[in-house]
Amino acid sequence: MNARARALAGLAAALLAATALAACSSSSAAKTASGAPLKGGTLRVISNTGPGSLDPIPTYNFAGYELERGYARQLLSYPTTSPPTASGTAWTRSTTPVPDMATQVPSTANGGISGNGLVYTYHIRSGVDWNSSPPRQVTAADFIREFQAFCNPGQFPVGNSTYFTSTIAGFSSYCNAEAGHFKHAKVAPANVAAWQNSHPLSGLSAPSPLTLQVRLTQPASDFNQIMALPFVSARPKEYDAYLPGSAQLNQHTMSDGPYQVSSYVPNKSIVLTPNPAWKQATDPLRHQYVTKVVVTLGTSSEQTVLTDLQAGSQDLFLADLGIPSQNIASLQASNDKRLRIWPSSNLNPYIILNLRSPNSGGAMKKLAVRQAIQFAVNKSAVVKVNGGPAINKVLSSAIGPGNIGYQPYTKYATPNNAGNPAKCKSLLASAGYSHGLTLGYLYPNDSGDTTIFESIQGSLARCGITLKGMPKPSGGAYFTDLGNTPQTSKPGTWDMSTGSWFPDWFGNNGRTLIQPLFQTNCSLGTVNAGCYSSPTVDKLISQALKSSSVSAAASMWRQANLTVMNDAAIVPLVSAQITQYASTRVHSATAGTANFNTIVQRWDFTNIWLNPNHP
């Protein structure tokens, strides 16, 4: 064979090999994309300010929950599923706690809840280890340590102590004792740990290293939901060397989950890598598909988020970001598979009515005026200006679909939810405002809330109610005016306001929905910003909270909701659904394209794989 012939033969062979290789690659990619997860790759996540803290105790935001899913396990948690709507069996399954580190969810049937409903027993799985050197079993004492650190005197106590002080025996007195001691004592990690370790919390005990018992002050049908909160994560003894939530602790986090924090540069990046001490056999909820998770902080523009994801330079965005809502319609129209819309159940936004305002002759104190407002608001317009019906579901009551006690409420129904100006005028006239009235409306001065206000202003103008806008910086004067004016001598600072409420869990959640919003509590910083007060509702709340039966509690929450709406305490507007957008290489195990975890309300990256898995 001469040289030319040899070269041609070589070229042909090379071409043949390349073709074969391409065929193999494409067939293997198609196989993994449609079926088994592909391991490897770096999941690139874009974020704004990030979680703020890596410590589960003070972390009280979705961005933090999203990351904790990888390195901080709880006794109970929620499965990763993809319910199509906020109702039905799929939704119920996704909002019902399941075992995480515990071997089972305590119930009266399995003996995990005592006969009187006051003692809950959790058995911890054997083989769940900390990524210490050498790996160490997570114990009941680690959970007790977490509870004891809730009321720490440092800068970062637990995000919400009320759930625990109102249910666990001795918790309230424990917190009071700690606060009293550190009023005069030095707040330093060693001192705090020493006090907490020498003062047992009477409602918590560990009959064995892998058994945690919790004693309650009264039965609570939602206690397992409380225990499924990310606050209730195991806490290693190494954390005694740091104050909870401190910058030092952020640099020394430990893990009992599939990933560990290998690097944290504040305001810059967070990197998670696989935890070698984690075992799949001990974790029914998570996986370890990707090799690395890199969270890049510092992006604030939602348009940038969308652009980066579409270009493939990032894979997901963290919960402190979003995509522009005005792009959603076009993404849906183009059937963009990277867009996901997940169900949620919240009051986001709603209108708070200030029942203590003396303005306009005490107009807000009059039921007829509040009912007139209910009829006046054009909720379908709010849906449109807030991103469209795909991500906004009209609400008619304080309890939305997907939560116990929900019942459609039709007293203030209007055709197509477009409002009824005539009915509004008639009610105003009956209250002595036949010539209309002027009310002050407080709202955060970002563009979205401004548009919502203008829409409401327009719909109320149709029946003679003039709304004077009071835009205030979000996070500053807005919240100060909202939560302080009932307590100050200026209850008439505002008459109506935009509110936004996400419950901490769904399903059996009256404690995190009806109670904070409507139980009598007209004090500084109250969440019941309108100072609504009803002895009937207070009694129903009290009964529901101490009921050991979910169905009984549901009945009471339903009645409370009915009373609140009959009193027209608030104007529910819409329940905002959750939008997510991911790059094309993000895949998950659930049917369709969604991968949703209730408590996180976002992607569960421990159930994501990447294809292609490079980078």
Binding site: N61, G322, Q326, A329, G388, A418, L482
Partner: protein, 285 residues
């Protein structure tokens, strides 16, 4: 032509009454010059049309059945929340709240023109007064007023506008005040220079010699000669652009759509408010 005919025409011309030489005023000269300038005429026509549309805004509102602040979410916004484009019902489309853009622009033009004219008048009056005093009196008065003029010219007007809006709240009087505050300085500088030149003229000397006081000299003898340069410096367009800038930044009254506000709302429609997820309860965000 015969000699007889020439003689006849000459006799006719001699017998005709003497015709007066007609003088033309400055205004007539200006008008004739403008009339010959096609670009100027076209510009004037556009300005008249805009002003006419602005004045007729209520008529257009009645014609379309859309008030400037009325919202039509059912017809002006699609089911998915996208504002409708130009069409039979909304001639220039609708905004994100379903309001008629065409009507709002007309009403906004009224305010823009008002602000432009009012601020220019205020600025001109102040600039004339300060410039004439500085140029006529000279000395320390000139020094003080000139330095004040320099300071105002150098001041960043956007920052002052923002600061005033934060303290006083955005409103039309604040916008007029901010623009007027900066409008006089350019005119004052021109007027001062012209005054320095004019005050050396003989007729000014003559006026002083017959006992005319400084104010009489300034306002009767000097000021009429400043009208040309002042008119050339008139800044109605600049004032409108300035007002549009402040509106774009959200410093002006938002009840009407003005040029800047149109751009601002257009920008807002393409940038974000959170998509589907809001800040959770305020105390934990």
């Amino acid at each position: 032509m015969s000699v007889t005919e020439i003689e006849f025409q000459a006799r006719r011309a001699e017998d005709a009454p003497a015709a007066g030489i007609e003088g033309r005023s400055q205004w007539r000269l200006t008008w004739q010059r403008l009339r010959g300038d096609k670009v100027a005429v076209a510009s004037a026509v556009v300005i008249v049309i805009i002003a006419g549309l602005a004045i007729a805004a209520p008529a257009f509102a009645a014609l379309t059945g859309h008030g400037p602040t009325q919202q039509f979410p059912n017809t002006g916004i699609s089911a998915t929340g996208v504002p409708v484009g130009p069409g039979k019902q909304f001639w220039l489309g609708a905004d994100e709240l379903g309001r008629d853009l065409f009507v709002r622009i007309l009403y906004g033009a009224r305010i823009s023109l008002l602000v432009g004219v009012v601020t220019t008048v205020i600025g001109t009056v102040a600039g004339l007064a300060i410039g004439m005093m500085a140029g006529y009196y000279g000395g320390w008065i000139d020094t003080v007023l000139s330095r004040l003029t320099d300071a105002v010219l150098a001041f960043p007007y956007i920052i002052l506008g923002l600061a005033l809006a934060v303290v006083l709240g955005p409103s039309l009087p604040v916008v007029i005040g901010v623009i007027s505050f900066f409008a006089w300085s350019g005119i004052a500088r021109v007027v001062r220079g012209q005054t320095l030149s004019i005050k050396e003229k003989e007729y000014i000397e003559a006026a002083r010699s017959v006992g005319a006081g400084p104010w009489r000299v300034m306002f009767i003898d000097i000021m009429p000669n400043l009208m040309g340069p002042v008119l050339a410096t008139l800044s109605i367009p600049a004032a409108i652009i300035f007002e549009a800038t402040l509106s774009f930044l959200g410093l002006a009254c938002s009840r009407r759509r003005r040029a800047g506000a149109t751009c601002w709302l257009g920008r807002r429609a393409t940038t974000a408010w959170p998509g589907g997820t809001w800040c959770s309860r305020p105390w934990r965000c």
